[in-house]
């Protein structure tokens, strides 16, 4: 590993770092420093995570009991809530999620670069993101003002399916415009990362030595660059459909509503991997450090990442197996979907094997990483049901899909992000968080999450359709449990976030540069890092995961 940087820890001016080398709001808003931009993204997406979460809690409250539960909430308002929950969580929170926050912060540090390849473009991406997010908020307010009720906000579901989205009187055009704008932020970030990884690796940081998180970010960036334009075109067509009536998705004018679904999922399936691949990367960073073992099967893990990204482009129509595509296409897309299961399984086996004969400590990040493995096993195996053609006929558009999706995205991407925030918190803030509160929050999140979504698998098995404001009485018990779980889950996230925020702002315990004794490059510079990341360009001489006593046959 790097030999130079750690030795220079105690220079004069050691308290100068990226957080305090320039002061004032303006210095933050105009900073092209990847670390500061990562923090800006983090604050922004957290705000939207809270908004999306509040919408979810209102939904769960309404669903707690059969019949109308909240007096003021009409069926149409419920439709608006699940739409906003989905649209905000997907487009404004999870898609930027780990890549824009942790990716921005860590990528240059992990490869030994001073910044990303195009620092100003990076800041521009953030402002495009901000513009898109504000436009989305404006769309909501505009809809509400026009209808003088929450009912006018946006009611198409986050999927914007035509022809409903063409006819809906809510602020679909503006919201589609917001998602369109957000897409550009994603494309530019992806492009920036691809170039950074290709061109800015420090001397000796070969592809075979890159941390798995960098591989995951690379695969993600490629998907962002290639898939996002398709959703841009799709949403642009939807806007044109609404404004000019071009007719491409309108059966009355010879258009095809199913075509919208093809376009939509051509992006929105790969986007699932934009969300979870970075989380896979996070887990692959955490488990080796807390097991004091190299990641098991490094090459297999990296190739599996690329394989998932690639195959992810070819399976989109498994979201449409009962949508009226031909039986032949349904068979084709079902079989291809199974091909994604295999590299995913390989990853899980490798994570668990990494712990074999390790020296395992249970700091909060490790707890989240282990929870991730458990949750992702459920997400993955329930994915097998949905890929199986005969079973999907029953499960499509039921709560089974809702539960599967949340195990993948919340259990995967969100737990991955929370794990990453705890793991790299000392590096980002220069402080340590309160471990007891963090573990308590973890317990709440883990129990709450499972209590929310395990009953939803049961609901799906019983045939409960998704996106229902109300339901027949036989579904009530499981819904009630799910609501209890949702609140526990919400409290858990609140504790976790408040703990981190409080520790960052008012915490007294300073973090050392490498509190976990990690071998990865980002831990070989100060906590928090200086503005330029490293005092000298590091020279890498070893593999990132050289933990433990070398065996006779060690080849790295």
């Amino acid at each position: 590993m790097s030999t130079h940087t750690a030795a220079h820890g105690s220079h004069e001016g050691q308290d100068i770092n990226y957080l305090n080398h320039q002061k004032g709001l303006w210095s933050w808003l105009t900073s092209v420093d990847h670390k500061r931009i990562g923090i800006l993204y983090l604050l922004s997406i957290t705000l939207f995570f809270i908004l999306g979460g509040i919408a979810a809690l209102f939904m769960r409250t309404e669903l707690a009991f059969a019949g109308p539960t909240l007096k003021f909430l009409t069926p149409q308002m419920y439709n608006v809530l699940f739409t906003l929950h989905g649209a905000v969580m997907i487009f404004i929170f999870v898609v930027p999620g780990i890549p824009a926050t942790m990716g921005n912060f860590l990528l240059p540090l992990m490869i030994g670069a001073k910044d990303v390849a195009f620092p100003r473009l990076n800041l521009f991406s953030y402002y495009i993101y901000l513009a898109g997010a504000l436009l989305a908020l404006f769309a909501v307010f505009w809809g509400v003002i026009e209808a003088r009720s929450l009912e006018g906000a946006l009611d198409t579901g986050w999927t914007f399916y035509a022809p409903y989205s063409i006819d809906s009187g809510t602020s679909v055009t503006l919201m589609a415009g917001a998602a369109f704008v957000l897409g550009f932020s994603s494309i530019l970030t992806g492009l920036n990362f691809v170039v950074t990884i290709h061109k800015l690796r420090a001397p000796g940081m070969t592809w075979g030595r890159l941390p798995v998180f960098v591989w995951a970010t690379y695969a993600t960036a490629v998907i962002q660059t290639l898939a996002t334009p398709v959703i841009g075109i799709t949403l642009a067509l939807l806007m044109m459909e609404r404004i000019f009536g071009v007719g491409i998705f309108n059966a009355d004018m010879g258009g095809d509503p199913v075509l919208f679904q093809h376009f939509f999922w051509f992006y929105s399936h790969p986007v699932v991997y934009i969300m979870v691949l970075p989380a896979f990367g996070v887990v692959a960073e955490i488990i080796p450090v807390f097991s004091r073992k190299p990641i098991f099967g490094y090459r297999a893990v990296c190739y599996a990442t690329l394989a998932i990204a690639f195959i992810g482009f070819t399976v989109w129509a498994h979201h449409m197996l009962v949508a009226g595509i031909s039986d032949t296409s349904a068979i084709f897309f079902s079989i291809i979907t199974f091909a994604v299961a295999i590299p995913t399984a390989i990853k899980v086996f490798n994570w668990v094997s990494t712990m074999y004969r390790g020296s395992i400590s249970f700091d909060t990040p490790m707890l989240y990483a282990m929870a991730f493995v458990f949750l992702f096993m459920i997400a993955g195996t329930t994915g097998i049901y949905l890929a199986t053609l005969a079973i999907d006929v029953f499960y499509h558009d039921t709560y089974f899909v809702v539960a599967h999706f949340h195990y993948t995205i919340q259990g995967g991407a969100v737990i991955g992000l929370i794990a990453a925030l705890h793991f790299w918190f000392p590096k980002m803030s220069g402080k340590m968080y309160n471990e007891t509160v963090a573990k308590f929050a973890f317990a709440l999140v883990f129990i709450g999450f499972n209590l929310t979504f395990l009953p939803q698998f049961g609901l799906g098995m019983m045939g409960m359709p998704r996106r229902y404001y109300d339901y027949p009485i036989e579904f009530e018990t499981l819904h009630t449990w799910s609501t209890v779980g949702a609140f526990l889950n919400g409290f858990g996230y609140t504790f976790a976030l408040v703990n981190l925020a409080y520790s960052a702002l008012f915490g007294k315990v300073k973090a050392s540069s490498n509190p976990y004794n990690s071998l990865s490059l980002e831990w070989q510079t100060k906590s928090p890092p200086i503005h330029e990341n490293f005092e000298e360009i590091p020279v890498i001489t070893e593999w990132t995961y050289g933990y433990g006593k070398p065996l006779p046959n060690t080849h790295h």
Binding site: P163, F374, M461
Partner: protein, 432 residues
């Protein structure tokens, strides 16, 4: 473990549930094994006394990577195969299946039976008889889900989808809409009652008000819309393919692609006839887009399906009885001509099937500005559209075919007399 699926009320439910339960068991096994291994490692290899013990630098194992690539691959192939096999089974429509039509709209399901019985949201089927439900939508997307029958398909405007199953237990079963469709999506519920054959027969024939069956409706349209001028019922070749045993037939388009004459093919052929042309036929058929309602289309399909060689093969006569009696002598010649143009006469199809009034080119030339026009025949000779020319064109259309048109028109010799023809010519003169 985890056997929460609803009652198995259709024949294929047991088979579907078999693969479902198999996936459940294998999933539980692997989850317990992998998470169990993780927890076992976590306990066994935990850091003790706050000090790391020495760990071996194990970087991987080619053997293990192979094992956990090959084993999941084999399992996936098996599950995918079984999923496809069972899916094919449950999509196969038995020959003796009862057909009914379901149309979703915000926020209800409308059903129509062969007998003309119509019902909304709640519908009835006989036990132990296979059924095919042809599903479409009048507005946004809906999805037709009968959990106990283990069937689901989306209802899409402009497209026919279907589900097929054989109910094996009497009782009432839930029908859900599972594709989000707006405000009252969660209230778009229905009930399927499975009853004995006798009870079903009584129910389906009990019509509170007079309703025409889809087949009767299709039969009327066959005459009214002049399908019969080009499509025979006895298998002989007209300008277009005969409808005898047309449903389910396979063939080739001019571009070489093959087709099966199913509901969606017929729908496209009626609404957009020239998109896919059947080999050996010319693009002569006018589009009926905008002229037929969903219920008209369902009627035509039902009628086409009924021409399976068991019924009469002669074309039904125009139902003149239904037309209001008009005292023809009180009308002007041009008005009488217009009547023939619109309604036809006797066994003769109405002219409007092939001749427009607005200048657009259908199978035949438009009447707009036709009278007195000069043009060329297919053999290069010029003509002027005088009384004699028009008369000959009506009585013996094949004698001279105008350039750019197919010899598609049937002769009206013996159908229209001289007075009728004068009336038609007077009418044509008025279309300028």
């Amino acid at each position: 473990m985890f056997r929460f699926l609803p009652e198995q009320a259709s024949e294929h439910a047991a088979e579907m549930d078999w693969i479902h339960h198999w996936v459940t068991d294998i999933s539980v096994f692997f989850t317990v094994a992998i998470v169990g291994a993780m927890l076992y490692f976590a306990v066994k290899y935990r850091k003790r006394g706050g000090v790391d013990h020495e760990t071996p630098r194990i970087e991987g194992s080619h053997f293990l990577e192979l094992v956990w690539t090959i084993v999941p691959t084999i399992i996936c192939i098996f599950v995918a195969w079984e999923g496809v096999r069972i899916f094919k089974d449950i999509r196969k429509v038995p020959a003796d299946a009862l057909t009914l039509y379901a149309t979703g709209s915000q926020w209800k399901w409308d059903f129509e039976y062969d007998t003309g019985k119509k019902t909304t949201n709640n519908f009835v089927l006989p036990v132990n008889k296979p059924v095919k439900i042809v599903i479409t939508s009048q507005d946004v997307l809906h999805s037709f889900f009968l959990p106990s029958m283990r069937v689901k398909v989306d209802a899409v405007k402009g497209l026919y989808n279907y589900v097929t199953f054989k109910p094996i237990k009497t009782g009432d079963y839930r029908l859900f809409c599972t594709e989000y469709c707006g405000k009252d999506h969660s209230a778009m519920l229905g009930t399927l009652s499975i009853v004995s054959e006798n009870e079903y027969t009584r129910w389906v024939n009990d019509k509170s008000e007079k309703q025409t069956s889809p087949i009767e409706r299709g039969k009327l349209l066959y005459v009214e819309k002049a399908c019969k001028s080009c499509h025979t019922l006895d298998g002989t070749r007209g300008l277009g393919p005969s409808w005898l045993k047309l449903y389910g037939k396979t063939g080739k388009f001019v571009d070489g692609a093959s087709y099966t004459a199913d509901e969606n093919y017929l729908r496209e052929s009626i609404l957009k006839p020239n998109v896919h042309l059947v080999e050996g036929y010319s693009p002569a058929m006018p589009s009926f887009e905008g002229q037929l309602s969903e219920s008209d289309l369902a009627g035509l399909l039902a009628y086409i399906k009924s021409i399976d060689g068991t019924g009469p093969k002669t074309a039904p006569a125009a139902t003149t009885a239904q037309q209001p009696a008009v005292d023809l002598t009180k009308l002007s010649p041009a008005e009488r001509g217009k009547l023939i143009y619109e309604k036809g006469k006797g066994a003769g199809a109405p002219c409007l099937a092939c001749h427009s009034l607005d200048g657009s080119k259908l199978v035949g030339p438009t009447y707009k500005g036709l009278y007195g026009k000069e043009g060329k025949w297919a053999d290069g000779q010029t003509y002027t559209a005088t009384d004699d020319y028009i008369k000959e064109s009506i009585l013996n259309p094949a004698a001279h075919v105008a350039e750019g048109f197919a010899p598609a028109m049937p002769p009206y010799q013996g159908i229209l007399n001289d007075d009728d023809i004068k009336d038609v010519i007077e009418f044509i003169k008025t279309v300028k």
